[in-house]
């Protein structure tokens, strides 16, 4: 109760009129808050809401008069009668599991090793981080050359060992997703490594020494001491991995030839562009797909953040 009573009085004494702002301050605040707010509304919320609105319509993108309300028809079509949809969902899930289980932990492993001040650590760091620096178009080209069925590096090596084998890495629908995942994992591991390495640099070595004094071996030190202490970085790594998996698009697009989804490599993001970009566009249909991806992303990120912060509050 006392706080209620004293609250209005104390500020007026300590700092005279802290709430009143001069006209210059107001203008400054309006500009500083207003411009980002408008930018956020115009570039994020308006398109998102427009997408949601358009997802209930059918529109070929020519003339606003061509927009017809179709209700939930697009969603019904997508869920029941759109052959690439469920494979795309499946591929997105595979992408997420693969990235979370292999390249991400591998990146953490690399970071941990490099942090132990081994020789040439700078060179290793640079080399492993290099793929992240390259433009994705370049990464795509490199892997295209590696996977080329006739004169690619991979088939060359395999052919040298046992001739007659001819593996169509990017063409075979049972194989191409994994081929792309390797390329994407190659890039992702370096990214995670640098994130984790930055975290490890700020790690208090005293904790490790204490663990060593208590007789913990290297594995125990890492699992019981380092990993729990690195919680903020772990969260970043997880969020980055989930986001990268859901929005995976560019490398598949490049390795797929830049024409949209290919059998075996369908992803939700690609299906959206399939329907929206091009000569005959189905903007309503594509928007419905975009809304589905939005919901999935919100669910994944939302659930994760909710979990994390609830635990922290306790």
């Amino acid at each position: 109760m006392s706080s209620v009573r004293t609250a209005p009085r104390s500020p007026s004494r300590a700092h005279p009129r802290p709430r009143r702002l001069g006209p210059g301050d107001r203008l400054f605040l309006t500009v500083v808050v207003g411009i980002p707010l408008i930018a956020l509304l115009v570039f994020v919320w308006l398109p998102a809401l427009a997408s949601i609105g358009l997802s209930f319509t059918s529109w070929d993108g020519i003339g606003l008069s061509g927009i017809h309300w179709v209700g939930l028809d697009n969603y019904h079509q997508i869920l029941t009668n759109y052959p690439p949809f469920w494979p795309a969902v499946q591929h997105n899930v595979i992408w997420l599991l693969f990235t979370a289980l292999l390249p991400a932990p591998f990146g953490v492993f690399l970071a941990y090793q490099l942090d132990r001040k081994i020789r040439f650590t700078r060179i290793y760091q640079t080399a492993i981080f290099m793929p992240m620096v390259l433009s994705l178009a370049v990464v795509g080209f490199m892997w295209e050359i590696i996977y080329n069925p006739d004169n690619g590096l991979l088939n060359g090596v395999i052919g040298a060992v046992s001739s007659g084998h001819h593996i169509d890495w990017l063409g075979d629908p049972d194989l191409n997703l994994w081929a792309v995942l390797v390329a994407s994992g190659w890039r992702h591991a370096g990214y995670i490594m640098i994130l984790y390495l930055a975290g490890l640099k700020g790690f208090d070595p005293a904790l490790k020494e204490a663990a060593a004094l208590d007789g913990a071996n290297g594995r125990q030190t890492f699992l019981r001491v380092v990993l729990p202490a690195m919680k903020p970085v772990n969260i970043i790594v997880l969020v980055v991995t989930v986001m990268e998996s859901l929005r995976a698009f560019d490398i598949v697009y490049v390795l797929g030839g830049g024409t949209g989804s290919k059998p075996g490599m369908e992803l939700l993001s690609l299906l959206i562009t399939d329907n929206i970009i091009g000569e005959s566009s189905h903007i309503g249909y594509g928007s419905a797909l975009a809304v589905i991806l939005l919901l999935v992303s919100l669910a994944a990120i939302g659930a994760f953040l909710f979990q994390t912060f609830r635990k922290e509050d306790q």
Binding site: G63, Q77, P83, P149, I277
Partner: protein
Amino acid sequence: MTLQSRTPGTPAGPHRRRVVQGLFGVGAGALAMPALAACGGGAASDPKTVTFGSNGADATPKKAYAAVTDAFEKDSKLTVKTNTVDHDTFQKSISTYLQGTPDDVFTWFAGYRMQYFAKKGLAGPIDDVWETIGAGYSDAAKQLSKGEDGKYYFVPLYNYPWAVFYRKSVFQQYGYEIPVTWSQFTALAKRMKKDGLSPIASGYGGGDIWSILGAFDYLNLRANGYDFHMSLMRGQVSWTDKRTARTIDLWRELTPYYQKGAGGRSWQDAAQSLLDKKSGMAIIGLFLGQQVTDESLRSDIDFFPFPEIDPAYGQDTVEAPTDGFMLSRKPKNPDAARTFLEFLGGAKAENLYMGVDPSNVAVNSAADTGSYNALQKKSAELIAGAKHITQFGDRDSDPGFISTVVEPGFTEWLNHPDDGSALLKKIESQRSRFFTA
């Protein structure tokens, strides 16, 4: 998002401009004048300039178009402002481009793709241009240039045939003969396989997935005829029709002879394997010639029309995609644009173009064919002798339907060629989505 980037260019445009004009108001009247003028359909724009949107961004077509426009400028005393855009980008953004402020005249393709934009009112009819240039064109070419409403919308420049290409020296070496019927064709493929060749060069990896349509189109045209093929392409017939199933059956007979690993190979690499004598034949267009770097090799390349399957249809149809020009819906300078189109449709423009880019065949019958190489001559004869001309799968049909439904379906099927009933059912289930409007 893409979605947002589309809307500002569309009918919202005039409103936005009106707002801007209102803002400028009286005080800045002078400033707003140019904007006003631009709004009024461009009547006041420079009467001596015509704008030209070109998708010929590669070195050869760019030079060829420049030669054409230079000659036109000299002839007519008008100025052509060429706006060149990368071929694929031009194609992908065409509907935004046509709704925004397109150039007066732009490059485009004949067939459904042209008729679609004509139907949507995004292109201007040019019957008056055809009164001048009509004499130079065959009936088949005239047919290709009309929209569904019977008006002309298109001026053709060149086309190129699809056929079965081979190397003469390979056929000589093994003693092969040109197959005329389906059974001869499959027998030949079988023999080639025995001789250690990949019978049919194939590469539809990356962005080259369209290249598989050539075989499908020809199989369907030969087995079921032109009328059925066109109805199928325009979404008027069910894809689960018995006749389509037969086409797939025929295709399955061919699949064992396809070059292995095709799904990851580019068409250029496939063409190269034909030139390197590793493959025996290739179902491809005349643009194969672009792959030839050694000129002495060019004379060794030849082609034969896709073999006959049903004698009722014989080899009466040739697939010959045609490129040309269209007029945008509200040209800023309609008179000059028409003069330009008349020039483009004349024999002189064709000669100038072919002089720089010889990998095609002129459509105008008055064009000079004296400088043609052997392949061009043979191509021109093949096209001239055709009863029907088709444009190619993705030009005769809704491009979205072909690229998002048919092509992925075919590629998947080619990996495990079965009776195709699942494939056709899948395609059929999507047909209504593209062909109801």
